[in-house]
Subunit: 353 residues, 2 copies
């Protein structure tokens, strides 16, 4: 009986308002209703108005899964960060979000907590969503993760760093070079005995340390005693602790570079507490130029990174590739950095002596 067909209370019916319901209400075929929502200019105004009315009357909400399945477009971009508490990532994420949201894309976020071995599992999980694009942090994905991403045929942007062999596209800057430049800047200001304090030592911290070492090797004197690293996570407290340790053991140091601003700020706080004068007794430099860094006493010399722009550019790369179905004219973008000289170091060490 025709009843069976009209009565759509099948055993699997979800009770949800579907596009067919809307179409029935508007007196059109489902496909026309679909078009009215997806490409309104293909539907006459008369029907469009009717369909919109039915939509709002029924409170229709499209089913994304069905749309994705039929069109193989998910409008989802997956983002993998190693941390959210590290203040650089929210800034990058804002750039990504503000570019993607107006374009109709949504962000699926995952956090590795700096556990590289979890990355592959996370990537696998995120690939199940068939995202239209993926943004991953860093360039040190292991071989099988690379393969996974490559085979998925999904546009990928690696961010934060630059690499010669990107998986797909790449937006970042050279941590090595930035750190090298900072140290060179100090050396040019007259500093010779420069220490380095690092924590967490993820690949980027590592490369910052290498930049420091290279500059020291070339223009000063490398001294193993001048370098302290910790595997612990970064914190203000740790910065203060490591500073005290290094400066006690090597009181001859003129300046200390920290692998990030958090550690450097911790050292400045510690100096403030102990009455150690900056830069008279010791100079301090950081990395990242976080929001608080120029407010510290004294303001912190550091390296500034255009984080928001990096996120924006990464998102733009993805959008380009998704919409043009072809790689953008360039597949790598160097967002650069700038050494910011502030009062925690001397512009000219000699003039003081």
């Amino acid at each position: 009986m025709s009843n069976d067909k009209n009565n759509n209370i099948s055993s699997r019916s979800t009770g949800r308002v579907t596009l067919s319901d809307v179409a029935a209400k508007a007196g059109v075929s489902p496909i026309t209703a679909s078009r009215a929502l997806k490409s309104p200019d293909q539907v006459s105004e008369k029907l469009r108005v009717k369909i919109y009315a039915a939509v709002s009357e029924l409170g229709y909400i499209p089913n994304h899964a069905a749309r994705s399945l039929a069109s193989s477009e998910t409008k989802i971009i997956s983002v993998i960060f190693p941390s959210l508490s590290n203040a650089v990532f929210p800034d990058v994420l804002d750039g990504i979000h503000d570019t993607l949201t107006p374009a109709g894309y949504r962000i699926l976020l995952a956090n590795t907590h700096y556990a590289m071995d979890q990355e592959e599992a996370l990537v696998r999980t995120l690939l199940e969503q068939s995202p239209d694009g993926i943004i991953v942090t860093g360039i040190d994905q292991n071989e099988s993760t690379r393969k996974l991403l490559l085979n998925s045929n999904t546009p990928v942007v690696q961010i934060m760093e630059l690499t010669d062999c990107p998986i797909d596209m790449n937006v970042g800057f050279s941590h090595f070079q930035a750190s090298y430049d900072l140290v060179r800047h100090l050396q040019n200001s007259g500093y010779k005995k420069i220490g380095f304090i690092g924590a967490r030592m993820d690949p980027r911290s590592q490369r910052r340390m290498e930049g420091y070492k290279q500059a020291m090797h070339e223009y000063s004197e490398t001294n193993e005693r001048y370098v302290i690293t910790s595997q612990s996570n970064t914190s203000f407290k740790l910065g203060g602790k490591l500073f005290t340790q290094l400066f006690t053991e090597c009181p001859e140091l003129e300046a200390i570079c920290f692998s990030n601003d958090d550690l450097a700020a911790g050292a400045i706080f510690e100096c403030n507490r102990k009455g150690i004068r900056i830069p008279e007794d010791i100079s301090i430099a950081g990395f990242n130029d976080l929001h608080f860094s120029e407010e510290l006493i004294p303001p912190l010399t550091t390296v500034s990174i255009p984080l928001y722009e990096m996120g924006k550019k990464a998102a733009e790369y993805l959008l380009y590739k998704i919409e043009h179905r072809t790689v953008p004219p360039s597949v790598q973008h160097d967002v650069g950095y700038s050494v910011i000289e502030r009062k925690s170091t001397y512009a000219n060490l000699e003039s003081k002596k």
Copy 2:
């Protein structure tokens, strides 16, 4: 001809490895392959091994959209925050993430940038994903957003604040009460002339201000000159600026409460620069107890919130409701707060005088 059927290079074929491919390779039916992945104990070991082998050989990745469509489970939780740069949210998000990820759920993140009028559009977009649950910030959703969420039949947790009439479930604390308690604490320490500086003035800042006003009304003397608010976004700089403005106009003030730690820290930095002594010349109190707050000179008196736990609890509420298909024993959880007394205020103002 039967060729047509075997030749599955249909015009719509996506080229993707499907479960049927895996099943064919393993010599089983697709449904058995499906079961081997979803509920392995229902499949004999012999076949299971074969199927797993086929999976890894073919590099099969499940299609989430198809799974969602067929099972009406998406394993996605949507999270709406008003900001990511506000450091409280990454902490909450970490709590959410760390609870949801092990349970196999993924996080879809959206950011309103404190634009309440965008919330409805965002909720609508997120509902299209048919998330298994939604976490929204605050309790001030407008009527149509509430309806949208209610009709969606999706578990919802409102976080950060408490409300008498939650949409569904609710995890937070009373900003009014917390701020009230902080001011009462200062009053009990002997403070009488207490100012308030607020920025951004989102609903929670607003309620913190109300708490301040209530305590002042009850135990001190309300003075309109003692309150400054700005619609601008919070920043260290703004904290310093507003502080200078208020303290210049009302030098008689003994203490100033700030609507958050960022503003308070800005004021402390400003005092440090100008040689204004804290708490001798003016006492400063904040709100949120951010990571840097106890490192400031002097350390900041503030209100500490269990942010990570709040995120965790919200996620647990969702998981409970999703898995038990029924509301948890309680639908509201007060995570509480604690007033943290530090050196930026006196524990006993009298003793100094």
